[in-house]
Symmetry: C2
Subunit: 197 residues, 2 copies
């Protein structure tokens, strides 16, 4: 999958190192043999010293979060289709495409694994969540600016985002066709493709 | 939280050991300081030798799965309310109650962490999924036996189960009231509390 580079052999820019480390995270999370996701394992695979990973990211959680944010932004630029329904279907179609790849499923797993579990990490968890919901918030803001009336974020979470996560977690196949439209129709409370704004 | 028992001090039955190990898993998953979930850490907390955990469960994934199955069955016995809607609302109410406790959130986290991530583990993943969906399948079978027409399992997954998981993962609070009914109404395609069968 990736070319493993011997540590220190070739001089790489900080950006190249960052990309190599992100790729190592994805590779380990999608490895068929289910390898351990630890900073030393990531460092070895990326061909960097594990101390530079600790120095740069501080913790595995922070590295996972940075990987997810960087990759998701690269993989799914937001289309402005001119309607709320169109934007949501476009978002869901990009999610379906992403979830059909090992990298996409690895990213969902990374989101779940990087969530702070601690009871004291409420603020951190809320930040995490807002970062993950940024595209959806942009879609909502554009809709409001157009005079449309988008559903609350929590409803979009329950009806549009949650199904993708649960299917990635349980490894359940997505329906072959029409799934993005189906989820958006359920969300906007319409049985067909008509505009609900 | 739990009384830590020095290993070998008191003779415990296999069932007592099993319960202590399950409790140690829950405690570590709900620890505010976010402790590492490893077999040695679990063994230490439960006051057992880590080799007996390997001998009994084989792997951390298997132990997590056993903990989840045992606790969920103990925590949420299935009510037969006489209708599909009633059974689903009752299931969702039990889930809401469970998710308000640290143990409930720890169990969701355990389900996610215990999912086999490997591409070669399709069969194992499918078994996992069926175990988790057993209560829902029972509700569907009872409905069919009564002559009701329950939604397909995948739709129940997307619309009723997924919202609980996503909220546990992101640490998003459940709405204060009416959430079980709201989710079931959305699922059964009715805006109010009328029967959809």
């Amino acid at each position: 999958m990736t070319q493993k580079q011997p540590a220190g052999r070739i001089r790489r820019s900080p950006e190249q190192v960052r990309t190599a480390v992100h790729q190592a995270v994805i590779d380990l999370l999608s490895a068929p043999e289910g390898e351990d996701l630890t900073i030393p394992a990531i460092a070895q695979r990326a061909g960097v010293n594990h101390t530079s990973i600790y120095r740069r990211w501080g913790s595995l959680d922070a590295l996972l979060a940075d990987t997810v944010t960087t990759r998701l932004e690269r993989n799914s630029p937001l289309n402005d289709t001119g309607t709320l329904r169109g934007d949501l279907v476009s978002w869901a179609e990009a999610s379906v495409t992403s979830m059909r790849t090992p990298e996409g499923r690895a990213l969902v797993r990374a989101v779940v694994l990087s969530m702070p579990s601690s009871a004291q990490a409420q603020t951190e968890r809320a930040q995490h969540f807002r970062r993950r919901m940024r595209s959806i918030e942009q879609i909502r803001e554009r809709a409001t600016a157009r005079g449309e009336n988008p559903p609350p974020l929590e409803q979009i979470l329950d009806q549009l985002i949650a199904p993708f996560y649960i299917r990635a977690i349980f490894g359940i196949d997505l329906p072959a066709t029409g799934y993005p439209q189906l989820l958006v129709d359920r969300l906007l409370g319409s049985a067909s493709g008509t505009d609900a704004a």
